[in-house]
Symmetry: D3
């Protein structure tokens, strides 16, 4: 029985998974598909390098293969979407990525996307993705907050950094919609909208929202 | 009470609206948002020219303004998405277009989009839209079936023409996913997939599926 | 007798029309086509929102249909080019838009276009247009002066804001030619060139200049 | 006294210059700027190779320098626009190229440009130009008629080849407007429109029409 | 001592590695860097799916980590360049991919690249790569020969299929240079040039040639 | 006997040629192809304007024609690559340009290229080239140091200006790799890397490194 949408956090941080899980509360409905957020115990503490991404990809695949019978769909809940293209080779299962769906959703909320990255070193990887998606023309710019995984737990400072990045994207790069380049930080979405006056996309919510509709369509 | 997603068929054809309505059956859920498909009585029999599009835009806006209090969202159910950008100026209401959402959805199902237009004369307008969306690089090509509104009622001949267009997009243009450039023809989706071996996106279903998730998020 | 080029100001401001009219003086020639600048009385005071644009489009069309017999051509004299694509469906009449022709002309005067918008809220609409035209790669950036219609009558302050925007486009965005994103401000063109050292395109002049040649060619 | 627009045919063929000259008849007006078509005696019989282009560039420059005092403007009347960027360094003189203006004009007549080249070997050079202009996205395709300079004098066969190329651009590449990639063949424009049902741009006429307006503006 | 350029065939086929090795003969020089072609015993027989690619990526990384002390550089000798971005995180070691270098080299030999893929299913992956590289505009098209790993051993039939693909890319897609989308088939390069009249890039040779220079520069 | 790679400095500055020559020391090998750096005595002191470029092109061609019998290849050692496309028409001789190869090399070292130009007036010409190469999407920005040929001899001030430009490209434009837009300044490469923390490409070294491999392949 394919009744579960698995939202796969490929890092080993239960706190991140918990953040994702609570952000999806409003997408859960009685009688609707189960939304299960999972932590990959063998994942890295945070996905920061390309090696983290590519290692995580195989963990994500392994999880998906083990749960394919129950899966109505999979969402890769890391902004580098590890394993997404592999999951798409699994027949008959929907797979969506948060980076992908975050960007596609932002494209309906504004014209010029400003992406807030966590780490400077991830930005080149993101641009490769915008290029692969053929949407680089829509990306006004990307700015990193420059905080490592451990520093993210200081919420006030993290929000402050995100607001600063958002304002810079708005004022210097001309962004008119913001995309959070990370998972598990949905709590910052509303304050970021308030502080910048721009619509803000939290990519895990965006991806799960898209996935629910696609599951209903069985596409 | 904002409890209704209005799917607005901007032409006056009840048959098209009925086709849209039945295609959305699987997206309706007990307790979910109401999905109401409406026909604009003052619309043209079919939206074919730019003048049809631009006139329809104001009818769509008028409808939206009248129903804004009840609206959880609006979907412009015509592949030229008449009025979409105006609807987005209405505060606090989601508005999505079927051309837009059809393309965004196809971008998660394949890399090179083949678009099946109804009329040759619409293709330039569609390309302007792909350009405005910044996704022209993802569009492998667009082929028209060249049948007017009245001829579409011959379903067998219409399907045959769509299959021919789909195969041409696949074999000559290199498309690996197809997007139907029309509303109200969801019944052709499955046969078109079978005949071409490619995934096919019906844009009204794609848009409503996206809209339902967005309404739950209140974005 | 098709002897008139109608330059249609779709807003109801006679002052704007007068500004356009005087800017076209040098394009008038004895024995040449008549250039008639018209104000659409039913237009909005200024075209600021998408709704303004789309409503103006139908007024522009209505005017064109009424004057088609006399028309050697039409120019939509608003930077959102309301109705332009509809006018192109009128057989045998030239129609050009000022946004379009302003950009095409700027492409012969520099490599990287800097666009000076009046309002921040119009910039996304302009980017959709640059995308639809397939020239987004040539646009270095767009900066708004952020002054409403009523504030534009303070010429000194408006010019100061335009110069500031132009310098920012030049120094931060790398623009090497400027395009004024408005109609009726031709008087600012020369001072803006002097202040920035860049060539500046006034789009109504650009469009009418192109139109005159096209009328002679009967294209 | 700057009263002459020089239309410079950089090859040595008087027949080509004569063809250009007669095509410009309708752009001449009593009291208007003089339009003088010149043949560069030291040019190659036809501009076919990059070496032809780059050698012609210096001849064009030499001519322009000698005639700068009389020049209201220069048009490089060869589809490779030899010397155009150099001419633009001459202060206070307008310079336009036929390839450039042909493409810009075609962009107002259709969405997807089909370019008819004379020689296969020129197509790569043209694509470099569309790329440099940032408009490659608007070029649906380019097809050569594959006839050398000497063969072009057989008008019937040349027209037949152009019609075949135009139809191929329309039917296989999806072009909705055609651009003739050559100078001196204005006589084929109307028959090509008739045979293909598409608007056809003759680039020398396009460039001179644009130049006349620009000279009036003194831009 | 970093004296070896490792050319890593990520599939387990010794025959492919042998083909690569012999193709590199002309790049070997007395006193020059050692060029060692290696087969990854744990690789798949052929890299065909995304799963093959992503699994191979980790094998490639493991090999590189083990040989980093001896490595002057690494070349990923599979057209999907498995692991390339991970290798680039290894400090102080050059890493180049054959798909990447094949395309960059082809960009110096022609303007419009025609890519010959082995399998239809790889083409979408390749387009993602051209997009990520930001060079999609230079790719005229991609055609697959549609032969699996086992069928490639029939050299005559494989060459015939490659020639057919090359001619189709030249005649229908307008390619003026060909890029072989595979490793280990250098023997087909010259006959393919002869049959099509176009320059042909063999990507492993292209990548190793670039790597040798870069090693000398110590970049 | 084709045994020499000619690196052609198209300006008449022996100092520039000497700078190029010493930068290539590490690319010279016993038994390898001779690398000969030449100064074109009839070149301008520095290539600054388009006229300089286009005049230099013919000098470069003349040199190449005279030395074709001895030439294993030619490198145009000026960032405007004068004559490159003409050289490519010489049969059987490799020709590469430093702008071209510098950019292609930078594309393997980072995702977003920051180009350091000498003169502001060259930037438009460079953008035309990035467009012609179809790689404009990869160029984050270009900043000029604004120093003329004579000022470049003040090395400390020149380096300081290059570091400032590099930091601006990194911090404001988001560049993650730098490309020096000039020849003969290889000595600044390492200090520029140290000061900015980014990889820096010296284009003459990049081009000669690529050329050596291509000569070995006889492509």
């Amino acid at each position: 029985m394919r009744d579960t949408l698995y939202v796969i956090n490929p890092n080993s941080s239960q706190a991140v998974t918990a953040g994702i899980d609570s952000a999806l509360a409003r997408l859960r409905r009685p009688g609707g598909v189960r939304i299960e957020c999972v932590t990959l115990a063998d994942g890295p503490p945070g996905v920061q390098t390309q090696q983290d991404v590519d290692r995580a990809a195989l963990s994500v695949l392994a999880f998906a293969q083990q749960h394919q019978d129950r899966a109505a769909g999979f969402v890769t809940a890391c902004f580098s979407d590890p394993g997404l293209q592999m999951l798409r080779e699994l027949r008959g299962v929907l797979s969506l990525g948060i980076s992908e769906c975050g960007a596609l959703t932002a494209m309906t909320l504004g014209q010029r996307l400003g992406v807030i990255a966590i780490l400077q070193g991830s930005i080149a990887r993101h641009w490769r993705n915008w290029g692969a998606m053929g949407i680089a023309q829509r990306v006004a710019g990307e700015v990193a907050i420059g905080r490592g995984v451990s520093e993210l737990s200081d919420h006030a400072a993290t929000l402050e950094a995100m607001v600063a990045a958002g304002k810079r994207l708005r004022d210097e790069h001309g962004a008119d919609v913001l995309l959070m380049g990370c998972a598990g930080m949905a709590a910052f979405r509303a304050p970021l909208e308030d502080a910048t006056g721009l619509r803000v996309v939290e990519p895990t919510q965006a991806a799960v929202a898209m996935a629910l509709g696609r599951i209903q369509l069985d596409w």
